[in-house]
Symmetry: C2
Subunit: 318 residues, 2 copies
């Protein structure tokens, strides 16, 4: 992958591109760990460089947070009082917009109802050759019914990105990370695994509804296992057991190759045994079904609480 080195990557690149597109840009960085030359190029494009975050948050109608991992929520909370009236705060690859929303929820629902939350996610490193799109979080999270921003605030982000020459996708606030973050590598492989399983199961004559249910249950089970045990779940799994079950499904050449590949490359990684397998607790109930049913009988509040606590406790910090 080639990279244009004439400018620093990341936030500085976005600032440069926005200024080149005629926008009035303030770039805040407490340290400015970039070359003299880069700073000159930024300033000649019209970017104002400041080391004081407050100067930035008082200025921007759109505030793009190219903040370090695990610090976004804390930084935004400290600066929120000074944020310009009606501004929209946009997370990038270091924090999902819904996590920032929940982190600031108390203030956003009371004294700062004017402020919106969205994303300006570059789905890559701004300035890298192949980075050519921006993911903007939609105004509303359909599942939770939460309004993170106004339609106008989202439109504002879309317009800025388009002015900067980007192709823009507006996505559900909770879909941004799986599509835009590094973990898209996993998303894509899971999509492939599901498409492939679907064709295998169809060959075996399974009805579509059954396949859908199986896919959902396997995904929920795996999400549960990783949630409970972290990656240690895989040290507890017994690769030989999986292989023996898998072999019995080798009804097509395609699956025979899956068996062969698993046996050669993965069986030994799953170093658990009969005992460690027995100790794995599990749950096959999927998240959407849990939420729907809990809502049905005790209402929205416990679901919102569960969501909020989840986002507070994650790596995005609080």
């Amino acid at each position: 992958m080639e990279v244009h080195y004439e400018l620093p990557l990341g936030g500085a690149h976005l600032a440069y591109r926005a200024a080149e597109a005629g926008h009035d840009v303030v770039l805040c960085d407490p340290s400015f760990d970039i070359s003299e030359e880069s700073m000159e190029r930024l300033e000649s494009a019209g970017v104002e460089l400041v080391t004081d975050d407050t100067a930035g948050v008082e200025h921007g109608e759109i505030q793009i947070l190219f903040t370090p991992f695990g610090h976004t929520v804390k930084i935004a909370r400290e600066l929120l009082d000074d944020v310009r009236e009606g501004a929209v705060l946009c997370t990038t690859c270091t924090c999902p917009p819904i996590a920032l929303y929940h982190g600031l929820e108390g203030e956003l629902r009371t004294k700062r109802e004017d402020v919106g939350v969205s994303s300006f996610h570059p789905a890559g490193i701004p300035g890298a050759e192949t980075q050519d799109l921006i993911l903007v979080a939609d105004a509303r999270s359909e599942e939770s019914g939460i309004e993170l921003a106004s339609e106008e605030q989202v439109e504002r982000c879309v317009n800025l990105a388009e002015d900067m020459g980007y192709d823009v996708y507006v996505l559900d606030p909770e879909l941004i990370s799986s599509i835009g973050d590094m973990s898209v590598v996993l998303t894509v492989r899971i999509v492939q695994a599901i498409c492939n399983y679907f064709s295998v199961a169809r060959i075996c004559g399974a009805p579509i509804e059954m396949i859908e249910e199986q896919v959902e249950e396997v995904l929920s089970t795996m999400a549960y296992l990783v949630g409970r045990y972290g990656l240690d779940a895989f040290d507890r799994m017994d690769g030989k057991l999986l292989l023996r079950s898998l072999r019995n499904m080798a009804l097509t050449e395609d699956v025979e190759r899956v068996v062969d590949f698993f046996e050669r490359c993965y069986v030994d990684l799953l170093s658990g045994d009969r005992e460690s397998m027995r100790e794995l607790s599990s749950m096959m109930v999927p998240p959407d079904k849990l939420v729907d049913r809990v809502r049905e009988i005790v209402g929205e509040a416990p679901v919102q609480y569960a969501r909020r606590r989840f986002f507070e406790e994650r790596r995005w910090g609080s």
Copy 2:
């Protein structure tokens, strides 16, 4: 895969093997759609053949339900009054044991507390050459705290399977399906995708906790999408968007191959566009976290209700 054709596969094979091992076996089948020769071989091994299910359920200390898809719960409920005192009902590949438990829960917690539920899952077709193990569901589902059977009932199933020459694994009742059913093909591929992502993310310097969280979130997101939209989720996804994001992660040769493979074989399958992507609602909160938090504030009852309703509504029937 070669198969021993001298006996019918499936339930009849299990009956034959149990009888050969010296157990007293009744094989119930309302139709007996098998050859004269097979019936003779079963009878000469000591299997009693009956067409009346009631005769079977009155007899067995272990009752293995090789029942058709979608009918297990209904059949078991109709016969439950006649089930032998202290028997354990075992599902196979057509129903997860926890689904049968929830389907009979009212009776099992009142007038039939003596009856247990487990599994005798062959993880393949009994009688097929490579089929050499039995998965027995553990007495207790750790996550839900539900006791499906007594320790003695589980031990009874383990002993029978061992008598029959099988290798036995005892697993959490909710793990049986992902390991034993046809969907193990998907389980294995997801395990591979996660192991692979882990090494990619480590090369990029991501801390382990962050990788674990990302994995869990992607799995939850995908479980949610498949739960909400079924396999139609993939028709709504825009393969070109995924590809463009993925390309920006091609920092190793390994990922370059993932990009290449996805581009050649899968991009066109994901035929959605900007609009259909925008309409996908999503949720990244994982099932275990939802359950933990809901329990924390409104107690166990709504969680149990949600679980029960989920199992009632699935393909296993009610």
